[in-house]
Amino acid sequence: MLSEEERATYEWQLDVPGFGEEGQERLSQASVMISRCGGLGSVVAYELAAAGVGKLVLAHAGNVRQGDLNRHLLMTHDWLGKPRIECAVRRLKELNPRLDIVGVNANVNEDNVRELTEQADVIVDAAPLFQERYLMNQQAVLQGKPMVECAMYELGLQVTTFAPGKTACLSCLYPEFPEQWKRRFPVFGAVSGTLGCIAAMEAIKVISGLGSPLYNQMLMLDLRDGSFMKRTIRKRSDCRTCATVKP
């Protein structure tokens, strides 16, 4: 049951057909893990906090740097040189004090990925390195949890949602490690922000049952010219990650 305060806070979205009080209750009982909380993850976390998700599990190492501030929208100028995760948690709590947050001052790695993902119903992959993405994908498959997969480069953004047993996984999409990806890439905050909103909507749809998530569909949007395309992703029968795991 939603409280009066929750009903008042979320009244504009409660009116969305196919969502309603039931959708809101599902959101408030759900937990989402997001790694990392940079340009992309910041906005995913902020939108999910605003929408009333119950719990966020956030992983992001390091201190706020000057170069973060064009897109890490949870980071503030007064927090330069101090831990990013503290700033993110503070900003999210300011927006939604009901939110339960686990903030970890580390990036996803082999030692923490299982513990982090076990605390969540849905994973949002917003990591800048493929090593982190593959680790989360492996846990998503093993634990049977949906993972919203989103990435950007320059003015282009892409998103799909993996659901173990129903769809392909990240290793089906990228069976070969993409050696050519570089940690540093050109991007505007408005690009990561647009993508973060789409990814947050994917998580909301998966949790609440609203609409149709991008299952086996990759949405690619180029903000340079306003063009978009959708492509079908296929499961590989020989996938090293998902082929042998029973749904």
Binding site: G39, L129, A151, Y153, Y174, P178, Q180, W181, F185, R231
Partner: protein
Amino acid sequence: MKITILLWGQLKSLAEADSLELEVPEPHTIENAVGTLVKAKAALKPMLVDENDQPQASIVVFADGVQVISREETPLSEGMEITLMSPISGG
């Protein structure tokens, strides 16, 4: 054989074009389409082919909108739309 190539990720930036028409001589394979493309757009070479001039294994290929699982088992056909995607991980 004439096909259309659509580019995504760094490939689109490097080519400064999102699509191009390509006349692919025989054999009508994805491998040959990539080889023909690299000749037409040299800027794509570092991303598209390896040191042996073979198509990079990590490039994702979609044929008429659907991901190609086996490049060898997917022949080109007249008017086919091939999308080439370099994996991106910006977060």
